[in-house]
Every structure is written in C-alpha cells, then in structure tokens.
Amino acid sequence: MPPVGPRSGDAIFANIERVNAELFTLTYGAIVRQLLTDLEEVEEVNKQLDQMGYNIGIRLIDEFLAKSNVSRCVDFKETAEVIAKVGFKMFLGVTASVTNWDADGTCCSIVLEDNPLVDFVELPDTCQGLYYCNILSGVVRGALEMVSMKTEISWIRDMLRGDDAFELQVKLLKQVPEEYPYKDDE
C-alpha cells in the first residue's frame, strides 16, 4: 500500500534512484559552454537553457506528482512551499525556502542557498548577462504550467554574480481553469 498523504522531500529523495551529482553538474556545465560557443549571443543561450528547462518541467511534473503523493494545493502559497520543500529536495537533494510574498499572495521568491548546478562553476567576465541557472526557472515554469498556473519567473539574486544566494522570483500571471471533461480528439 502506498503511504497515505504527502511524503516529505527527504523521504522521497532517500528512496529514489540517485546518481553522482558531479556527472550532472559537469554535464550541465559542458552544455552551457558548448551553447556559448555555438550561439555567440548570451541572450540566445539564456533562451535555450530556459527552453530546455521548460521541456523538462512539463515532463518532470508527472514524476513529481506520482512520487510525492501531494494532493491538490489550496492556493499558490501552498504550491510554492511544496515546490521549495518537496520538489527541489526530491530532484536536486537541496531544500529551498519561500519568502518575500507580496500582499495579494501572487508573487514570491524561492531562495536556494545550496545549488548543485554551480559546484565548480565560476563565470568569466565574458559571460556578463548569462543566467547560468536558467534551466531551473524553466523547469519550475514548465511544471507549474502543467498544473494550470501560468507564471513569469526571473532571477533576483545569483551567487555566480556575487550575491549571497540564488533567488527566483515567481509571479503568478493567471490560473487557467481546468476544462473537464477533456475532449478525446485533442
């Protein structure tokens, strides 16, 4: 019998198949490096990283829902907490925190103090304007879109640019009502 109720990020991470993080970190680094060579424009690299993340997010949400056993979140606040506490933990093995809520509860920051993507990474001066971790914001945006939340995500703080943490601002643009029943032919 599967456990009833949501599982903690730690419990899921402990039971999930895991691999050496160096492989992940270095592979991502090699991809960014190759993109910088191939695309020349840093803006274009940011876009491709975001697109990669988005494509991953729209698929990863299924694994997340299947393994975390979370039920429907009552509001955007709860959703953000679940992403930070369960989502980041079960995939990257790190916990994030949620802060800086605006008054109407549609905009917040997800703060990461530890981020396996940037182990061993230092940005040279020629990479000004590069959002190295843009894949992460893409993942969150893609995953949220699959649960009917359109969001806009931007980087507020970036340790590779000298800040003391990574801060992702997540702004809820609109909640698309789910249409049911789904049509078979779409």
Binding site: E17, V19, Y28, A30, E63, F91, P116
Partner: protein, 176 residues
C-alpha cells in the same frame, strides 16, 4: 559517498540536450548536431577523469588506463563495472556493458524488419528520426570515454555497437 541528485535529473538533461541540438539548433544538419553532442561528452569525460585520477599514480600502459575506465570510472557513473573487456593487443579494446544505463529507458528496435511495415512515407520518416535519437545519445557516451582517455594521455577514436541491446559495446581504437 559524495553529493547525489535524482537520476531523472541526469536523464532529463541528456534527453533535452540531444533534442535541443537535433530538433532546434541543427535540425537539418545531423552531423553538426552529432559533433556538438560528442564535444559535450568529451568535455564531461575529460573533467571527470581528471577528478577521479587525482590521487592515483600514473598508469603504466594503455591496458592499465582502459581498466581504470572499466572499473573505477564506470562505477562512479553507473554504480557498476563494464561487464566484459576484450582486446586484440594491437590497440583495439571492446568494452561491453550488458545493460547500459543511458539506453535502458529508451524504446528502440535495432532490427528494422521487426514490426509492421509503415504504410506511408511520413511514417517511415518519423520512424527513421526515432531511430536517430539513441544514436545521438551514443555520441555523448562515446565522447565521454574519448575525453576520459584523452585526459590520461591516450588519443583514440570511440564508436558504439548496439546490435545486442540492452547491451552496448564501445570500441576504443587507440591512435598510434
């Protein structure tokens, strides 16, 4: 044990990297896409073998270095060793992994005569494209091995043979 991430992180990253190069950046130039994917693998292999050999004495010969790839290097990446190593003692080595992790989640059919004959050309084309994907993934794997060996001072060419799936054999030809 060092830091770990979920296996799906690496799987998704590799899948997206291949799809980005093959479908978006170089959609009509598969050979360019392949060379970029190979280059990314090379970089990864090069850096990983640098890290994993930091505290080791120098390898005495080619076989010694290849054995390191089969045992320690493979174990770090896949938590298992290469299952079978063959050599002709003239610079060619065949490393076989009986269940290669990076292909084990892919549905592939190496023999085109299996299954239904596609009725339309578009279907045939789609099928062709599907067959390319695992090949593109293999460019990454071959690049990793090539980069790792190159970091150990061994210039070589690496190709992959997947005719006995889920086993995968990597053929390493050392350049004289």
């Amino acid at each position: 044990m060092g830091r770990e991430v979920s296996e799906s992180c690496v799987d998704s990253l590799l899948t997206e990297m291949v799809s980005m190069y093959c479908n978006r950046l170089y959609a009509n130039k598969p050979e360019l896409a392949a060379s970029r994917i190979d280059a990314i693998g090379y970089q990864v292999g090069h850096q990983l073998s640098e890290r994993y050999t930091m505290e080791r004495p120098r390898f005495t010969d080619h076989l010694d270095a290849i054995k390191f790839i089969c045992k320690d290097f493979w174990s770090e990446l896949f938590k298992k060793q290469i299952d079978n190593l063959k050599t002709n003692h003239r610079g060619t080595f065949v490393l076989q992994d009986n269940r290669f992790r990076w292909l084990s989640r892919m549905s592939l059919d190496p023999s085109p005569e299996n299954g239904d004959v596609p009725q339309e050309n578009s279907e045939a084309a789609a099928e062709n494209k599907a067959a390319q994907v695992p090949n593109m993934h293999l460019h990454f794997s071959c690049g990793v091995i090539k980069g790792a060996l190159h970091n150990l001072g061994i210039a070589c060419a690496v190709s992959a043979d997947t005719s006995h799936l889920p086993a995968c054999s990597f053929v390493v030809r050392i350049k004289p």
